[in-house]
Symmetry: C2
Subunit: 416 residues, 2 copies
């Protein structure tokens, strides 16, 4: 079981969490719990570090910020004791959760589970602070922001857990954003691949890295909400599993699993670029070096005049810097002019079903064209088709596609 | 160097502390620093534990409250880096500082200093969170409230430090409370024994336990203030050393080193107790079992009628419980009546000089009698004489005694 920062925000919330853990124990399960810091606490600690030294040493930063999860781990163990459920905290260095790489963005290596497993087998709940581990030299490390999901998946894999239940402030994964489409349905199952595509295009339920790790390690994840009446059972959430498991269940699935959207895009267009080997490198390498995440890239076909146009998207917050970096190479690249558009959005349809079906894309283009929504760019992967449109049409496009692919629930707000 | 909670209260204060540490490093010293949590932080964490479970497991309490010092240790290391001074934090379990006994009130056992000493010798400041250690089973432990002074003294002993400088919010140890006597003088030197007596009667500069440990281990302590202008040298404080060192310095010392007072006393009187073996046990054992700290005890001599009177003091906060416990045994003890007085204070004169001088007590009694101050009780030790008086006379008594023993500075507020 993993609980995020909003689930751990204060002792009253932690007591509710303890109630959820106790339910699982009382049902006869061995339970390890991974916890985040109280909502806001990590920011408070990071600010202390920034105030102490603008260029802070990541090893000492780790010492400071790892305390947030240490506090909630101890408090959850205390709440469980208070309910008569045996529990103890296991800090990252106590298990230990070995990490490699750099401080403040460490990767999980080997997790020694002998002592932990013995304690679990003896009926004691293990409460583990997420986000932290121990470097080979014995120093405290952290995994980077949002790393607690990854801690939970890695621990679940190491102890061979049947399931990794990740409690959040949403009830599960939906066919699309319920704030936009009232008839969005909560999904019972999605595949890892679908979850990755849904996450990477704006449906941010889980940290992308944790889903990738779960896929690699075969850890079955359930996303569900911790916001239940005290003492009540949680509502069933969404299982994130491999395609094989879904096939075994022989469930009839929709061609498309969900519709995602992302308003964090900004478009840059370079007009009349001379065709020259190396021009692409001169444009994109400076962006990569500045760690600017270039997403969609579309190049026009050669028009015969030796000139092409190029269009790509970057995160909105990076637009100004991206423009600067491209302009710095203007003479070298030789483009005629640059334009940009910050009022764009990406809408994507995601589903493993589309692999084996032609015509999925056509349905999308037809549905959008019927409403007069212009496509600025198109990008496709095995299980996803994304289009870039004017931002103002985002909600309309999502609703149109949700209906076009038969995802609408019979009644508003139905759960699956 | 050890810095308390007010010295570590926020990053601005921690930067000042880093400046003081840097001065010592730049002067060619190898420096280990022990830090407290930010002022108020430990209370915040203890409250979380109380909210989580009223009868909290001390092992998990330790996990939670030890984070306060972990945060300040990391932040001080960061501030030192920011000033170009090499530093690293060493958590209790990393050194390790071995502890024994019970969680939440552990005692320091063995401190492994090999790695720490090598790091110090390489010119790296060691920043150590106070108050915490590691039990033999690998779990986090804490020493009880105020334990950071003890951590500092124990670490100083383990690494063979030349001096243990304890920075506080006062400039040193004074002949008496400067808020009461404007001509109080800061002392250059006091002995461990004097410091213990001064501390135990209300001049709370250092935790009593740390002074006892320093005496046992022969650690020379300096008490001084961290509240200096940024970049300025700290003012010389008070050295706490053995009697031998003071004799070597051949300093002319006053007969009496200081005057302490304590308004945290409450008086209980039992009138007409039948003389019976076991009566004292029946009175005091319940108090001891309730961990109520009985201080002065005075029993009247036998009057020949088989009845005696008994008078003793307890901390004010424990008065109600003490009365209840004594009343519970009333039939067994057979006393006639009980009275109490919460408006009393203890005033003490302290000094190693009094060992070899008769007449010290007389000076005290005469000076107080001349002002009409009634003595409710008297208690003496080798280097201390305490009297219990009506609380309203406390300040007058302190001033009168400060003058009577020639402690007044030539001018107000002079430093030694």
């Amino acid at each position: 079981m993993k609980f995020g920062g909003t689930s751990m925000a204060g002792t009253e919330r932690i007591r509710t969490v303890a109630g959820l853990v106790k339910r699982e124990v009382d049902a006869g399960n061995e339970v390890a719990v991974v916890v985040s810091a109280m909502a806001g606490e990590t920011d408070r600690l990071v600010n202390f570090c920034r105030e102490a030294a603008p260029d802070f040493d990541p090893a000492e930063y780790d010492v400071v910020v790892a305390t947030g999860e240490q506090v909630t781990a101890g408090l959850l163990a205390l709440c469980l004791h208070g309910m008569g459920t045996p529990a103890r905290s296991w800090l990252g260095w106590q298990i230990p959760i070995g990490t490699t790489g750099r401080h403040a963005r460490a990767r999980i290596g080997t997790i020694e589970t002998d002592a932990l497993a013995a304690s679990l087998a003896a009926g004691t709940v293990a409460v583990v602070p997420g986000f932290q581990g121990r470097m080979d030299d014995g120093r405290v490390s952290t995994l980077g922001r949002g790393g607690s999901d990854t801690s939970a998946v890695a621990l679940a894999a190491a102890i061979g857990a049947e399931r990794c239940d990740i409690y959040t402030d949403v009830a599960g994964v939906y066919t699309t954003d319920p704030r936009i489409v009232a008839r969005a349905r909560k999904l019972d199952y999605v595949t890892y691949e679908e979850m990755l595509e849904l996450a990477s295009v704006g449906a941010k339920v889980l940290q992308t890295r944790s889903v990738g790790l779960a896929m690699k390690m075969g850890v079955r994840i359930q996303v569900l909400t911790s916001f239940v009446e005290h003492g009540m059972a949680p509502t069933r959430g969404t299982m994130i599993v491999g395609e094989a498991e879904i096939r075994e269940l022989a469930m009839e699935r929709h061609l498309i699993t969900g519709i995602a959207h992302d308003k964090n895009e900004a478009l840059i267009m370079l007009i009349d670029i001379p065709e020259r080997a190396g021009n692409m490198t001169d444009i994109f390498r400076p962006l990569a070096e500045a760690q600017i995440d270039v997403d969609m890239i579309v190049q026009t076909p050669t028009r015969g005049d030796g000139l092409i146009d190029l269009m790509f998207t970057v995160p909105r917050g990076d637009l100004a810097q991206a423009i600067e970096l491209v302009e710095a190479n203007r003479d070298k690249v030789g483009y005629d002019r640059m334009t940009h558009n910050i009022k764009v959005a990406k809408v994507s349809i995601v589903g493993v079903g589309m692999k084996s079906h032609a015509g999925v894309a056509n349905t999308m283009f037809d549905a959008l064209a019927a409403r007069g929504i212009e496509l600025l760019a198109i990008a496709t992967s095995e299980i996803k088709i994304s289009v870039l449109i004017e931002e103002d049409y985002t909600e309309l496009a999502v609703r149109v596609l949700h209906t076009a692919y038969g995802l609408d629930a019979a009644t508003e707000g139905t759960d699956s």
